[in-house]
Symmetry: C2
């Protein structure tokens, strides 16, 4: 495989993962929920065809859940997995992960996190990197725009989601 | 309130919280599940009568859930709470928290964690302390014994629960 092909393959996988994450975010927004989506994509130890093993979105509003952030919903949707699967997967998330979702990524030793945007929220990227996780920020304007709109429209729900209070 | 009364009140609250956490762990064990239980206990800003606002146990086996650890199940059971409630509560857990549950405690700025035991597992107590969380380890032998028994009986389920593989 040439270097160019390899780089293109990585870009294609990241586009797949972020597209799935963003579609979940948009679905949540359509339901009046916090518009953060995520996808867990298995790529295997040797760069196999990427496969979405879990996807989901924030469920604070829809299920009154304080733990189903986008990344957590994607992990729950994937169900019980062998440790090897996590260790050869990438977590895609439309927004930079909070402490809880960061901890879940560390628990399962997911080696790579691809973030849609970190303009509207950024908290634990340094912790992820300090534990050896590769962190990529795409600066995806679809994600920034949708999340920014929600924060303006429903600040109370958003701040509750990160353990804060809207001022 | 005298110092002695105050100290006794703290001990009584911790006994309540850990008893609830342990009952949840024992219930999970009876179901064939990972025997880790937790309780979120609200004590208010001024030392009110403690009140259990959420409780639960690990649901890996029962619900095929990779995210419902004991502490997460207690948070989910409590439902949506105002940020003030978390900030005036203690999380009780029968076993020292993993990275995911540690992250959830940090997200919601729960100021105090009381741990039944850290003999069978200990991972993120330093991270909790470094972020200003008070960590108390009770060395509760009920917790150590029950968890140790489960690890001997079902090592594959236990190691899966912490993102590892039984050897
Ligand atoms: Ca499933
Ligand atoms: Ca509830
Ligand atoms: Zn999160
Ligand atoms: Zn945990």
């Amino acid at each position: 495989m040439s270097l160019m092909t390899s780089a293109s393959a990585i870009v294609a996988a990241d586009k797949l993962g972020m597209d799935v994450a963003f579609e979940n975010a948009r679905k949540s927004y359509g339901e009046g929920g916090v518009p953060i989506g995520a996808a867990l994509v298995y790529h295997g130890p040797g760069g196999e065809e990427p496969r979405v093993v879990g996807q989901g979105h924030n469920q604070r509003i829809q299920k009154s859940s304080p733990i189903l952030h986008g990344e957590m919903a994607a992990l729950e949707n994937a169900g019980r997995l062998k440790s090897d699967v996590y260790r050869n997967s990438t977590m895609y998330t439309t927004l930079s992960p909070c402490s809880m979702c960061t901890g879940a990524i560390l628990l399962y030793k997911i080696p790579r996190v691809v973030i849609g945007e970190n303009v509207n929220f950024s908290k634990e990227e340094d912790l992820l990197r300090s534990r050896g996780v590769e962190v990529v920020v795409l600066e995806d304007e679809r994600c920034t725009e949708l999340m920014g709109r929600y924060i303006r429209e429903k600040p109370e729900d958003w701040y509750e989601d990160i353990g804060e209070t809207a001022v």
